[in-house]
Structure formats: C-alpha cells, structure tokens
Symmetry: C2
Subunit: 465 residues, 2 copies
C-alpha cells in the first residue's frame, strides 16, 4: 500500500527526506520481526533522531489517523513489531546513543535504539553489569526490551527488564512527552505510570529515552550441569541448591535437546552418561566455602538419586562451553521448524503441567518430538514441537494450531501465562483470554484509550479495540 504523497511530504519535513524509506527492500526489512507469521507490508519507514521528531510523527499520526509501528532490533517472537497493514514503521535505529553515565547511582541514560549487548559491554567497561541477557542480545534494542519487559536467563536472581528501568521518557499516543520517575529508586508520588509502558508493546506510547540501573559485576561465576533421571528430580535439585546458594541461573533441558545441540553445534557432551533431563545452574564462587558447599550439595543429590552425573566449570572457558548446551538450543531447533510456545506457571505446578502437556501432544500426535527447555527457576517453560521431516510446513502448523487450544486451556487451569516473556503482539492475541479475564481486558482497553485515544500506536497488537 503506497503512502499518500502529502503524508510522505510531511514525514520528510519532520525527519528529513533521506530518513524516510519506501523502497521494497526497506519495507520488507523493517516491516517484520523474527516471527515471519505475516508478510511485512508497511507503507514507509521513518528514522527519527530526536524526541521532538518522534513527537512530530505521533502528532501527525493523530491528525491524519496514521497507524504507527515501533521498531527496534526486530528480534521479537510475537509479531509485536510487524507492520502488515500499511502502517508507518518508526525505527529507532538512529536513536542509539548512550547519553550519560552516573557512577554514584549506577545509572545509564540512553536512547531506545541502544543494542542490549552494547549496554552490557558499556557496563562491563566500567566494572559494572547489565544483567538482562538472552539469545538475541546482540541485536535486540533496549526500547524493545522495555516494550516486552524482556526476561532471559538471569531472571531468577536479577528479575525482568522492569526491575532495571528507573526512568522512562515516552511520547504517548496523544503526543505528550512524559519524563517518568527520573532514575529514582524511591518515589511514592501517585501512580507509577512508567510500569504501564514496560511491557506495553508500544501500544500506549513509544519509549524515547530510558535510565537503566546497573549492578555490580558478578565474580567468578561457576556453572554446573547435572544429569537427572526424571523431571521430578530437576525440581528437587532446584530446591536443594536454592536453599543454600544464591543462584544466578537455573535452567533445564532434555536429552533430545542435548543430542541436537551436540550434533549441530559441535558442543561436547557434559559427561558420558545420557540422562533424560539436565539442570544447568550458575552461582558466584565468592569464596572457597561456596564452592565446597556446591560440591557437598552435588554429592547429596547423587546420594538421594536425583543426580546421575555432573560437572562443574573450573574456568571461564569451561563455563561458556557448558552454557552453550543451553544457549545453543534456539538456533539448533530452528533447523526443525519448531512450533514455539513460551509458557509460565508457578514452580510447584511445573511437573504436573509438563506431564499434562506431554500427554496432550502424545495423544494427538504421537509422532511429534517435543523439546522442553527453559528457565525452570522462575517457572518459565519453552515448549517446542519439532516438525517431522516428512511432513509439510503448512500441515505441521495446522496440526500444532489444533492442539493450541488444549495447551492454553491447560495453562489457564494452572493459572499460568500464555506468554511468559515474549509478549502478545499478534501471535498470542487470540489466546490472551486464557491468561487475562474479560474484566482485565476491558480495563486494559480503557487504559489504552487514555493514552492513545485515536489508536495510532501499534494498533491491533495485544488486543483489538
């Protein structure tokens, strides 16, 4: 859908002619994220460089009823940043500067287009640490992380992105600039509006600046990988270690995932024994005493029969290699056209929940292979169904879609979440009602209209008005 010439001229006036793209390649490139569920079809891509320019674009959108889609690193897994309906994409690629570092407060003020890994490196250079980390950290932008309240592999200790956003400048759907919370740890002056924009997927306003908190750098991280005879043992290992140690991560994955990762990525197996499940845990070895405690815990888990074999990293290279068993999964299974779900239930429900879902898949499609992995320390499970080699993509996705309802009914029965950390976007929108009540949805829509009465900010994402 080509953009109207008068609107194009107004966009040129706001950001400069060279910062509006309408060629096919650009529309395709900036019009989608990692999901590929909808064909990208934006009408233009604009590249603002300042808060004023973003405000100008939003005001124009209100005036001429233009739909805007925010665009960061385009690594999203729920199609929240997909423009498939002729929208104008607002890319933050040019607003990618770190503006200020305040050492006393361990705060970084930055623009939304800063890449996650860039912030991580910036912190490291200053002897500090930005702890939100996940597979796409090399491309994802902080603005997008805030929009989906990104989680990842260190949530058990460090929490979600929400925890690290101490200030947020946004342009609301009405075109107002709000400078929310200004970096303070304590501020009890009425509703914390900042929190609505975190995880708001750009539907209330666009993040144009943020103040991110850093933490002290972790010291001497040790990684253990433990093989367990069954899933129940994974949970017992979690409980035993969590009672004694401050874990910085506790992940799990299955033997099938280990077979695939070792085959595709050339990562060595952690030890000879093959066990149905593996736990990967990480902690700071702040003293020899901590390492001794970890070894004693390992031994008692073996005695209890919860662990068959295990290994502890002795240096950073070994730690990285062990991490690859977990971090290599997403890329590895992408070769098998996986059908992905990102689910969350309370930890004490996890064993029964996994058994129920396995039962549903086995019942309907006994030939499907299921790869479970995830952040078991915070109840977040990634369910991946692999396409059989001899099945067409369309048939496979149709079959997966037909079990979806039963999967999400199970999520609802356990009071869980249909999207733990990937957001709702377009792909989870039909299933939102399994995690949020009709009353909650009604309030969400009313809140949307407070900030974006003309529905110009990422319309059709999360819910339809």
């Amino acid at each position: 859908m080509p953009i109207a010439p008068d609107i194009l001229a107004r966009l040129h006036a706001i950001v400069g002619e060279s910062h509006v793209k309408t060629d096919d390649d650009s529309l395709k490139h900036w019009g989608c994220d990692w999901t590929k569920v909808r064909a990208p079809a934006p009408s233009a891509i604009v590249f603002p460089v300042s808060v004023d320019q973003v405000q100008g674009i939003v005001r124009l959108a209100n005036e001429v009823k233009l739909a805007l889609v925010p665009s960061g690193g385009r690594t999203g897994l729920s199609a929240a940043a997909v423009a498939a309906e002729g929208e104008v994409v607002v890319s933050f690629d040019r607003m990618n500067r770190i503006l200020e570092f305040i050492p006393e407060d361990r705060l970084v003020r930055l623009q939304p287009g800063v890449v996650t890994a860039q912030l991580q490196a910036y912190a490291e250079e200053r002897g500090l640490y930005y702890p939100v980390d996940f597979a796409s950290a090399g491309s994802s932008q902080i603005g997008g992380n805030i929009g989906t309240n990104a989680g990842g592999i260190k949530v058990i200790k460090y929490g979600m992105t929400r925890h690290w956003v101490l200030g947020l400048k946004v342009v609301t759907g009405k075109g107002d600039v709000l400078d929310l919370n200004k970096g303070m740890m304590k501020n009890a002056t009425g509703y914390d509006l900042r929190q609505l924009f975190i995880g708001g997927e750009g539907t209330l306003g666009f993040v144009v600046e943020a103040m991110m908190k850093l933490d002290r750098a972790p010291r001497d991280l040790r990684v253990m990988v433990l093989g367990t005879p069954d899933f129940a043992s994974v949970m017992k290992v979690l409980a035993a270690f969590q009672k004694q140690l401050d874990l910085t991560a506790f992940e799990f994955f299955s033997e099938l995932s280990t077979q695939l990762v070792t085959r595709h990525q050339g990562v060595p197996r952690p030890f000879d024994a093959a066990t149905p499940f593996y736990a990967l845990l990480e902690f700071e070895a702040t003293s020899d005493k901590v390492v001794d405690e970890a070894m004693a815990l390992f031994e008692s888990c073996v005695e209890e029969g919860w662990v068959v074999d295990g290994v502890m990293s002795q240096n950073q290279t070994q730690a990285k290699t062990l991490w690859r068993l977990r971090e290599g999964i997403s890329e590895t299974i992408s070769h098998y056209t996986p059908y992905k779900n990102d689910l969350s239930v309370l930890i004490h429900h996890v064993p029964a929940f996994i058994a129920d879902i396995d039962g549903i898949v086995a019942d309907q499609y006994p030939d499907f292979r299921v790869v479970w992995f995830g952040h078991i320390g915070d109840g977040n499970l990634h369910l991946n169904i692999l396409k059989p080699d001899d099945m067409g993509k369309d048939e496979f996705f149709a079959k997966c879609g037909s079990v979806n309802t039963r999967i999400f009914e199970t999520v609802a029965r356990y009071g869980g979440s249909v999207s733990a950390e990937h957001g709702v976007g377009l792909t989870k929108k039909p299933y939102l009602g399994y995690s949020r009540s009709p009353e909650e949805l009604a309030y969400m829509k009313a809140v949307k209209l407070v900030f974006d009465p003309n529905n110009v900010m990422n319309p059709g994402k999360v819910f339809d008005l």
Copy 2:
C-alpha cells in the same frame, strides 16, 4: 456527620450489624493515621471479612455515592487513610489471615490485614525472610504497605514492597474483582495493571488479597557504624563499600540525632569520638573472607580520612544495639514535635541537595535545629526540623510551612521526589506538582476515572479530580 439510616441498614446487611461501628471512640480511632493533621470525622467504620463483602460495600458506594476510605494499621505519615469528611472507613482488621504457603515458589497468599511483623515472623518460622522492614512494622498492614509501596531500611538490597508483590486481588472502584498476575515471576500478557494499585493509595481500588514473595533468610548479618568528619565522606564510604560488598543496608544520621537517641533511649554511643555524621552499614558475613574485606575497607577509609572511628558488631545483640542508633530516631524526635519531610534525589545529588536545604532553613530560621537521617544508599532523606522549646506548635508549623515551598522548589530543581516512601495522601497533595508534570497529573486523573468513575475510592487523596 451521622450516617443516613437507610445506608447504615444496607451496611449492616452486608457485613452484619456487629461489624459496623458508629460510636465516637471508634470513629476517632479508625478515622485517622499517625499524622493527626486533620480531625477524624468518618460517618461509620465497617469491618468486612471477605472479598464478597468488600465488593458489596463498593457496589453500594457507587449506587448511593458514598466515599470510602481504606484503613490498615493506620501508621501512615501522609494522611492517606484519614477520614475527615464523613467518609465510611473500610477497615481490613478482620481480613488478617495468611491463607496459603507455597514453599517451591516461596510465596505466601494472604489477606490485606496481615501485619507486616506477622508476615516477617511467618517467613522466619519457615527459614525464609520477608525483607521489607521499617519502624512501624509491628502495626502496619500489608494492604497499606502495598497501597503506599512501602520502603524502609533494606531497600538498597531488596527493593520496595512493589518488588515482593507477585499477585494482587483487588476490588476496583467500579466493583470488579481483578485477580492480577497470580504469583508469577514472568508474565508478558499486556499491561501489568497490578503495578497501578501498588502505590495507588486505595484511590483505584482496594487490595483484598496478595501473593507475597519471600527470600532466603540472610546469614550472619554484621553491622558497622562509622563516624565521618563531614557529609561528603559518608558518600565516599558508601561508594567504597558498595564496590566490594553486597550491602543489605546503608543508613546515615547526624551527631545531633545520636545525642538525642543516646539521651532518650539509653542506647550507648557506638564509640568515644563524636563526629558530625555517622554511616550505619550492614552486610552478610557469608565467610571470613567477607569480614576481612570489610575490615580492610574500614582501614582504607580511615587512611583516606573519610572515617574517624568505627565499630563492627561481633554478635546479634551488638548488631541490634547499633541498629537502635538509627531505628530509635523517629520515636526520639517525636518528643520535639518534628516537622517531617521524606525526600528523594539521585545519590550523586545528595551532598549538594543537603547543603542547599540546610542553607534555606538556616537562612530563614537560624534557631531551628535540623535532624537529617535516612536511607542514603537509595537517595532517600528524612528531613526533620525540631520545634524550639520556647515556640508554640502553631507558630512552628506555620514557619515550617513557609519554607516548604523553597524546599520543594529545590527538590524539583534536582529532579527529585516530594515523597520517597510515605505517599501523597492529603499532606503532600499540594506539592505533587513539584514531582509530577501537569501532563502526568492529567493522565493519572484519567486513569483514576477508568477504575473509579464515581470517585468513591479514597476521594481527595493524592489529587483532587
């Protein structure tokens, strides 16, 4: 203002006749908090025992346009729970049960009337820890803590109440029951409405149930009190220790406060030397190495001239005695009719900010004594101006009121908060504009109308519609 007989009859029908009080003593007792700025004048106190009863009260309020004030432990310092206009007070004293403990998730599901110290003790009995702690923990209720997003003395490590609320059941101003987030650590399914009710001071809805996260119990807490020659040194000590150790607290107070506390509470001085300021810091001595590190830091601070003398607790009794130097301040200065402010600025602004405020007070009222203390590790400063013995209370408060504007102008100049952890209520309402912009206020009011269109929930608190 007596309550209309027909409304009284309807309240009786909802909660039972014996659970509505209209006698003068009860109206006075449940109609106020610790502020005493307004004379309590509610028309009735109701004591619901269930979510259904709260919902019934709110529906009645909408029908007959009744103003409701929520009431917890009544320890608030901003008059958010004061009923001075004939409101009906909804006390949560009878909804005071702990409903469920989920060890795998370290979650406690409870009613809002549970007292903070009750939750702390419940956690301790299970080898766990509820880390939000402050002077009024023995009376304050969890519902009230959530309403003001209570902070206290452990925020530097553990964050505010917000951080520990993983599920929240509320009755909104429209009378809907929302069951928000259900205890999950990860849930990216649209706007996190829970966050609006945390710190919402009961103006959007009333908390009727919460799921609170617990942490592992801290081990072998050590307390150090260090005397510093000036305020700048306090900040240098903070930076030095924070770089090396995971502090669980970092508080400061002045020599005047130490003189008053030792005199009034019989607490011994920490050491012979009297210094202008003191830092109290706390950490977990997880190994001897940590204690050695702390001693080495202490020695290097002495060498740098930042610390004149200091002491480290060798056991829990000593630790408690040292804490009393800080925790005894509020009660001690209450004998001096203090004019209290609860301010927050970014940490790097603290020294200049304190100097500016001291200058303003000294300039206008050179005979006033100022007690500074607070949670310097998170930028939260309690400014207390003491009434001279020979000055009347009215004259004193009038004079303090007249410097207020200059104090809050200074807060605004540093981008700080006029209420770091006490909330807005009635007492900070006139000054809210120093911390929140007109646009933010407009959005807050619009959000209020989404949840409470008839303005029946704690009307006139935080802002006027």
